[in-house]
């Protein structure tokens, strides 16, 4: 596979990287303000990407329909991001710059992202802060009234802006309030408690969506001149993740089945600092912000099988393994490195707690150094949350942490305009694959969501709207009837099985397969086994699932069954992608491809591409298309945090 046959055109501009976005914006067609109202844009999802895109497009004069599955657009899962948002403002005068943020992101992504996109992200990062500050986002301030920053996730500059431990919430409320301003102005039709169940295409062009009204069970048709998919990531394929319960792959998967390529699905991020699993009842995992690693020291007992209480283990019998293995970054190594290191310790029997699947995160030294008040000031709400969930006091005893699925870098393949391989269908935020490569840096998800929504998509949408390729049809077009019939048939089928297993139980089984074999560490044999197990489970799902109730009312079991059915197909693609990628990079670790001391071994010669999968039918292998990734500026090097 050494010969690249790059069939995908990224429409990435050329020339000096710092001029590309400016040049591209100039080259894009404009639509004059009076004509914008003639275009209808459907925005699916109201997280940071969807909320900001819907608000901005409406403000520009487009007619917008905004859909979300929650009861209010203010609740999308962006809200749960704690730590912060990066921007290359260099307010701290510590040597930050657009180029440095670009450089860090390309390198942090282990050289599997598109340089042009990443540069653009870094370029608009500062504007995002300006925009959010103007909206009234209560960012942390210094006593002089200036914006405060902190260093986050191992960055060597302080470029992270934050609002206590609730940055995602505050940014989302900012986007939500901008959106509601447009609702008030009559420019946005807001439809909460709607789930997108089909994309409607006419001659291959996105022309609308079919949604299910989650309260009445009715199927509704919405026609539009462009569809923006802002539906987040697919971490819940693992059953247990830090995602919200309703987070799912359904909208993206239905688009994939209508022709949108799915890129790099195996790139998933396992976050190192989550509260460990406590039992089979567990429905989700809770993330503790990785800002905790600024002051906490990670350790395990040096001897396997040591079950003493942490306080009884003397310093000399502890292994601060991150500090030992990575002396220059220590506890602040990137997420993928920290997660794998924790798994290794547990695999070798040094894990702690009842399950042996946890490591300590210890604040004793920080408390001794800075005092308990200072630590409370910094992490009070996180410590409180930890205590609430575990019943243990982290001021007195070290926290127990373990990695959990947190974010997915893969997503629908998009070009530089954020347009998928289905003309008129755009994907923004976590739903697309583009900017983080194989690993996302801390505090960069919020940045990307808002970059795509406030600044990129509102400019690039004209690549479709002004292309002459818009298929404007009414909702009585046969394509809508066909899509609606498909969706209804699927629901009826789910309701008709009436087997002996709950949706949740089947989902849990899928999650176990994914975590064991397509999780932190992957091998050829394991992935092949995973594929056959997923296929068998999918069959079991369709013969054994029990979905109570009917379609015609609020039916949470039916909603979830539809999402789990899609995860059952999607999981296989993830495994296939992981099997194809015969290298270790970022969040993707193949056991066959590691260095002598267990670090990831990337293979740039054969795998410097984005793998964009094309659907060929359920139970058939998807076909691979490649987007060759070239690095003109940041030359690929081995990431080393030693």
């Amino acid at each position: 596979m050494s010969a690249f046959n790059s069939q995908l055109n990224s429409h990435s501009p050329t020339g000096p990287i710092e001029d590309r976005w400016t040049k591209h914006r100039f080259d894009l067609n404009l639509i004059n303000p009076a004509n914008r109202r003639k275009f209808k844009v459907i925005v699916v999802g109201t997280g940071l990407a969807g909320g900001s895109a819907a608000a901005t497009l409406a403000e520009m004069g487009y007619e917008v329909t905004s859909l979300c599955i929650q009861d209010s657009p203010r609740r999308a899962h962006s809200i749960a991001a704690q730590g912060g948002i990066n921007a290359s403002k260099n307010y701290q005068n510590d040597g930050d710059s657009t180029y440095r943020l670009f450089y860090d992101t390309v390198k942090g992504g282990d050289f599997r992202a598109r340089e042009s996109n990443v540069y653009r992200l870094a370029e608009v990062s500062g504007q995002i802060i300006d925009q959010c500050a103007a909206q009234g986002v209560p960012f942390a301030r210094e006593y002089g009234g200036y914006l405060a920053n902190r260093s986050f996730g191992g960055a060597q500059v302080s470029r992270t802006f934050y609002a206590r431990g609730q940055t995602g919430q505050q940014l989302l409320i900012g986007a939500y309030s901008a959106l509601m301003r447009q609702v008030a102005a009559g420019k946005v039709e807001l439809l909460p408690r709607r789930e997108m169940v089909e994309l409607v295409t006419v001659d291959g062009v996105a022309s609308g969506v079919v949604v299910r009204n989650l309260i009445t069970g009715e199927y509704e048709r919405h026609a539009g001149d462009a569809v923006l998919l802002c539906t987040g990531g697919y971490g819940n394929v693992f059953f247990l993740s830090t995602n919200a319960q309703a987070s799912n792959v359904t909208a993206a998967w239905r688009c994939h089945k209508k022709g949108a390529y799915f890129a790099n699905p195996c790139f998933t991020q396992i976050h190192p600092t989550c509260i460990p699993v406590s039992g089979d009842h567990q429905s989700k995992l809770t993330l503790m912000s990785e800002s905790l690693r600024n002051d906490g020291r990670v350790w395990v007992p040096a001897k396997a099988g040591d079950t003493r209480a942490p306080a009884d283990i003397p310093e000399s019998e502890r292994d601060y393994y991150l500090e030992r293995r990575y002396p220059s970054f220590g506890n602040l190594v990137p997420r993928d490195v920290a997660s794998r290191a924790a798994k290794l310790e547990c695999d070798e029997g040094r894990g702690i707690g009842n399950t042996g699947l946890a490591v300590y995160l210890d604040f004793a030294d920080a408390i001794k150094r800075d005092g308990e008040d200072a630590i409370r000031q910094r992490y009070g709400n996180l410590f409180q949350m930890y205590q609430m969930i575990t019943g243990e006091d982290p001021y007195r005893t070290p926290m127990r942490i373990f990695p959990a699925v947190h974010y997915t870098m893969g997503g629908l393949w998009v070009d530089y305009n954020l347009q998928t391989t289905v003309p008129g269908l755009f994907a923004l935020g976590e739903a697309n694959f583009s900017d983080h490569g194989a690993n996302r840096l801390g505090a960069s998800a919020l940045m990307q969501g808002l970059s795509d929504g406030y600044f990129v998509a509102p400019a690039t949408i004209t690549a479709h709207l002004a292309s002459g390729n818009v298929k404007r049809v009414g909702v009585d077009h046969p394509a809508f009837a066909e899509a609606e019939a498909q969706a209804k048939a699927r629901s009826s089928k789910l309701l008709s099985v009436q087997g002996g297993r709950t949706v949740e139980g089947l989902h849990r089984d899928l999650g176990q397969i994914m975590w064991d074999m397509v999780g932190m560490s992957r091998s050829e044999a394991g992935l092949k086994d995973a594929i056959s197990q997923i296929r068998a489970l999918r069959e079991e799902f369709w013969s054994e699932v029990r979905v109570p109730g009917e379609n015609s009312h609020l039916n949470r079991s039916l909603e979830r069954a539809g999402r789990v059915a899609d995860f059952m197909e999607f999981g296989e693609l993830m495994a296939q992608d992981a099997l194809n990628r015969e290298e270790s990079c970022g969040g993707h670790f193949r056991e066959e491809h590691q260095t002598e001391d267990g670090e990831a071994a990337r293979n740039d010669e054969d795998f410097s591409y984005a793998a964009a999968w094309e659907h060929q039918g359920v139970d058939k292998e998807a076909s691979l298309n490649k987007e060759d990734l070239t690095f003109e500026y940041v030359k690929p090097s081995t990431r080393s945090y030693k």
């Binding site: 900001s52 929650q70 009861d71 209010s72 203010r74 899962h77 809200i79 749960a80 403002k89 307010y91 802060i129 300006d130 925009q131 500050a133 103007a134 909206q135 009234g136 209560p138 960012f139 301030r141 006593y143 009234g145 206590r164 609730q166 995602g168 919430q169 505050q170 939500y176 309030s177 901008a178 509601m180 301003r181 609702v183 008030a184 807001l190 309260i215 919200a244 319960q245 039992g279 009842h281 567990q282 429905s283 989700k284 809770t286 993330l287 949350m385 609430m388 969930i389 019943g391 406030y454 509102p458 002996g500 709950t502 949740e504 139980g505 029990r546 109570p548 009312h553 609020l554 949470r556």
Partner: protein, 250 residues
């Protein structure tokens, strides 16, 4: 643990509701309250029934989706938490727990424990924002915000819009929710130009959505999972009064 649950069941907004009694066993003290209900629902589904519908999403206390009254207390017995953050170690083996939806005229029941809180969105739509066009903002540091003001804004902005304040209020008033937004934006220099107009129109919308009046019971503050202070209500009342007397131009 084994528990007896008395849960409000109501098939739809139009239908009448009633309490049903369930027994659920095998409950671990490490379970969250919602995981305990998950357990009950598994049991109900396998017995051929319809599971209890309830709103939930993030399960970490920030999305504001979960909404239950547990033994008469909004979000349950622990102060400063949402239902999803409540764990079963707060209950004793053999306990009887009564679970009801948030009840208020402006929050009609949709099904079982699920209510419609779109009236909150209507209040925000009436003015809970700063008019700021994307792309026209000055540099973030061009608008200095004294730390105390930023902190005060953040205290109020911590509201998750769950509606617990309304459910706890004997008058089903939405004062704390509305005041939190008015105070968040009104504490910041960016929020000054629209300050009075905002208070006026949000309060008017609150009334027209069918929320009750404030009689200073302070139940809202006690129930708020984010511990928003009733001082925000005093702030809103001042802004509202000024706007009513002097007109809505700031």
């Amino acid at each position: 643990m084994k528990l007896t649950l008395q849960i409000w069941r109501q098939p739809s907004a139009e239908a009448d509701g009633n309490f049903e009694i369930y027994t659920v066993g095998g409950v671990s003290e490490d379970m969250s309250f919602l995981e305990m209900i998950d357990q009950l629902n598994r049991q109900i589904v396998l017995d051929g029934g319809e599971p209890v519908a309830f709103d939930h999403d993030c399960r970490e206390g920030i999305c504001g989706m979960c909404s239950m009254v547990i033994n008469g207390e909004v979000h349950g017995p622990i102060k400063g938490t949402t239902t999803c953050q409540l764990h079963m170690r707060s209950f004793k083996d053999g306990a009887k727990i009564v679970i009801e939806p948030f009840r208020a005229k402006a929050f009609p029941v949709v099904k079982d424990l699920v209510v419609d809180r779109s009236s909150f969105d209507a209040i925000i739509t009436a003015g809970g924002f700063i008019t700021s066009r994307t792309g026209s903002a000055p540099d973030g540091n061009a608008i200095l915000v004294p730390k105390e003001d930023a902190d005060q804004a953040m205290d109020a902005a911590a509201c998750i819009g769950c509606g617990g304040c309304v459910a706890a209020c004997p008058n089903a008033a939405a004062m704390l929710f509305t005041a939190a937004k008015v105070t968040h934006l009104g504490s910041l220099p960016q929020g000054q130009p629209e300050r009075r107009a905002r208070a006026l129109s949000m309060v008017q919308e609150m009334d027209s959505q069918g929320f009750g009046n404030c009689t200073n019971e302070r139940e809202c503050e006690a129930a708020c999972p984010k511990e928003i202070s009733v001082m925000t209500i005093a702030q809103m009342n001042r802004d509202y009064l000024r706007a009513s007397v002097a007109g809505d131009d700031a």
